[in-house]
């Protein structure tokens, strides 16, 4: 497993990120951010590497990852669908959108489809409260979601990936 990572050059990327923060105090969180941006998640081999290079116990590195909602030890789908469940979106029907997405994709919120295409996440307030309910698909924001609109967003994505529904 580790040899495979070396081959793809991910290991060097990780080293480079750690090196860039060597002089800065309190750099663990920014380092983890950058590595996750690069790799998509933070597997155990990365945690070990960070622990060694930054001289922080592995247990502490892992405790940081499990504490903060944005860090993930599991890989995510190609399309990460975030449903905002801030109060404003909630009073405008965000829970119905979550239910519908779960039904459409056949997975629970927090999980990824077996083909690795979709992840549903319930996310913290995105600050677009004036336009709720809001969902995001990777970096694209969709506002004023309604059941038919949600269905269209998903079917469009499925068509795009060539799975044919």
């Amino acid at each position: 497993m580790q040899a495979q990572q070396m081959e793809t050059g991910l290991d060097q990327k990780v080293e480079k990120i750690i090196a860039a923060y060597r002089e800065k105090p309190g750099a663990l969180i920014p380092v983890l951010h950058e590595i996750q941006n690069e790799l998509g998640h933070l597997p155990m081999w990365v945690q070990q590497r960070v622990s060694n290079a930054m001289n922080i116990p592995l247990s502490e590195v892992n405790s940081i990852i499990s504490f903060y909602a944005l860090f993930s030890e599991k890989p995510k789908g190609k399309y990460v669908i975030g449903v905002c469940k801030g109060t404003a979106c909630y009073v405008r029907g965000a829970d119905k959108i979550v239910e519908q997405l779960q039904e459409l994709l056949g997975i629970e919120a927090g999980d990824t489809t077996p083909d690795g295409m979709f992840t549903i996440e319930v996310v913290r307030c995105l600050g677009a409260c004036g336009l709720g309910p809001v969902i995001t698909v990777n970096d694209t924001v969709y506002t004023r979601m309604k059941p038919d609109k949600t269905k269209k967003v998903i079917t469009d994505l499925i068509e795009k990936t060539g799975k044919g529904g």
Partner: protein
């Protein structure tokens, strides 16, 4: 310098970005070029103008004509009729939610006229990525005045006299906090900005950083001078990538202009800023948890005292204030505490920014003098309830706050009055609910939220 007969301001706030304002801007620039008007008309993308539910929107100056709910094809017509022929296009005007009458200019629309802007003074009015525009609106004048004409203790005195209270929620007097920190002997000292706007339904801080990042930088620099700190940190939540980007660019511009760095205004005073991005933990909005997170640890709160003023970041004396608090400071130093006290109430001077959300017609960002009745915010500025339904309650203060029912619509919005109604000011989230909202369900929503976001440190949460 070029002169333009018209400036067309396109709202590029977070809400309008999601509504597709970039398509409107591109079409506008294109259409202006096609008509050969590019030397006469300038297009500026600004921060949040306020009424997010009406986006995409734009204002044509100098007349102040307001167009909203725009579709790309509408833009061509506006360029042809208004910018070329000089006849504003009524079809795309704002319509009063009560009378359905069109209103042409922003000075005819209650959403704008009923507000008073201090923290948001430049948001929606200038290009946030241009330090020149900030300076043209008196930006960095307060900082220059402080460094060249005032001693640090004068600044603390002015802030104390202004009566400014922390806009993050608790309302602690800002000047007093600064004075405590200035008097502690240890060095170095730090200035920290809490931009971990975690309350669901709140986006005031986001809009200030995105729409006027230099006002935050100037406010923090003023604090640094007053307390004797040379380094500041801004802790922003990761959910706000555009705020991070705008602030980063603004910091670089300020460094280039010598407004951050060493020997600022040849005064010998040095100050610099660094951004730290959060990682998704509601509890990090609490100041001791935020400081732990800044140090790279789990964001768990600790008991106070010692207060951050005594032992803050890396156990050094630290001032930690909220974004809106810092954004108020340049105006206070420039115009004086007497001016500031003339706005708002005796015990809560100044204004407060609210994120108006939920079932109101005009949801968005508003700033009003403290003491404005709640009903005025919801019905005059907010345009009432969607679908003319009945108002049930307004939720303020985020998960630690409470709800005000219809009987409280006359309550003046200030720290003390809200407390009497069993809620708190909080950071400024104001969520309007209509007759269809189930209050039991809402209570469950907040309990679930608090359970999810509990860090598990204190016993009441674990039981």
């Amino acid at each position: 310098m070029e002169f333009y007969r018209n400036h067309v301001l396109v709202c590029g706030g977070g809400g309008c970005q999601s509504s597709g304002c970039h398509i409107i801007r591109d079409r506008l620039i294109d259409s202006i070029k096609k008509r050969g008007l590019e030397s006469e008309i300038k297009v500026v993308v600004t921060g949040c103008m306020g009424p997010c539910s009406l986006g995409p929107m734009m204002i044509v100056y100098p007349e102040g004509i307001f167009y909203c709910g725009l579709k790309p094809e509408n833009v061509d017509i506006i360029v042809e009729k208004h910018l070329y022929e000089g006849v504003p296009v009524k079809e795309y005007f704002y319509r009063d939610p009560y009378s359905d009458e069109p209103a042409a200019a922003i000075h005819e629309i209650p959403f704008f006229t009923r507000q008073m802007k201090i923290a948001l003074r430049n948001v929606g009015l200038i290009d946030p990525l241009s330090i020149e525009e900030y300076i043209a609106f008196d930006g960095y004048f307060a900082f220059a005045k402080a460094l060249t004409q005032h001693k640090p203790e004068d600044i603390i005195r002015l802030v104390k006299e202004s009566g400014l209270r922390g806009r993050g929620g608790a309302g602690f007097p800002t000047g007093l906090k600064w004075e405590f920190t200035a008097k502690v002997q240890g060095r170095p000292k730090y200035v920290v900005c809490n931009a971990d706007e975690g309350d669901p339904g709140a986006f005031m801080d986001r809009s200030i950083i995105e729409g006027d990042p230099h006002s935050l930088i100037e406010g923090m620099a003023l604090c640094g001078y007053a307390i004797g700190a040379n380094q500041g940190y801004v802790y922003i939540r990761a959910e706000y990538p555009m705020a991070v980007e705008h602030l980063q660019k603004a910091i670089e511009q300020a460094r280039k202009y010598g407004l951050l760095g060493s020997d600022i205004f040849s005064s010998g005073f040095a100050f610099d800023l660094e951004i730290r991005v959060g990682a998704g933990a509601f509890v990090c909005g609490e100041e001791t948890a935020l400081l732990a997170s800044l140090e790279g640890r789990r964001g768990e709160p600790r008991p106070k005292p010692p207060y951050p003023a005594q032992e803050g970041l890396w156990n050094q004396p630290t001032v930690i204030n909220n974004v809106e608090t810092y954004a108020n400071l340049p105006s206070i130093i420039l115009k004086g505490p007497k001016w500031f006290r003339s706005i708002g109430t005796e015990r809560s001077p100044g204004t407060k920014v609210f994120a108006l959300a939920g079932q109101a017609v005009n949801t968005g960002l508003v700033e009003v003098p403290m003491g404005t009745p709640l009903g005025d915010i919801i019905f005059d500025i907010g345009g009432g309830i969607i679908g003319k339904k009945n108002f049930k309650a307004a939720q303020t203060g985020g998960p630690s706050g409470g709800c005000i029912p219809a009987g409280g619509l006359n309550v003046p919005v200030d720290y003390e009055s809200l407390r009497e109604w069993g809620t708190i000011m909080g950071s400024g989230g104001l969520i309007v609910m209509d007759e269809n909202t189930c209050m039991v369900d809402l209570a469950k929503f907040f309990l679930d939220f608090c359970q999810d976001e509990s860090c598990g440190k204190c016993i009441p949460c674990r039981m």
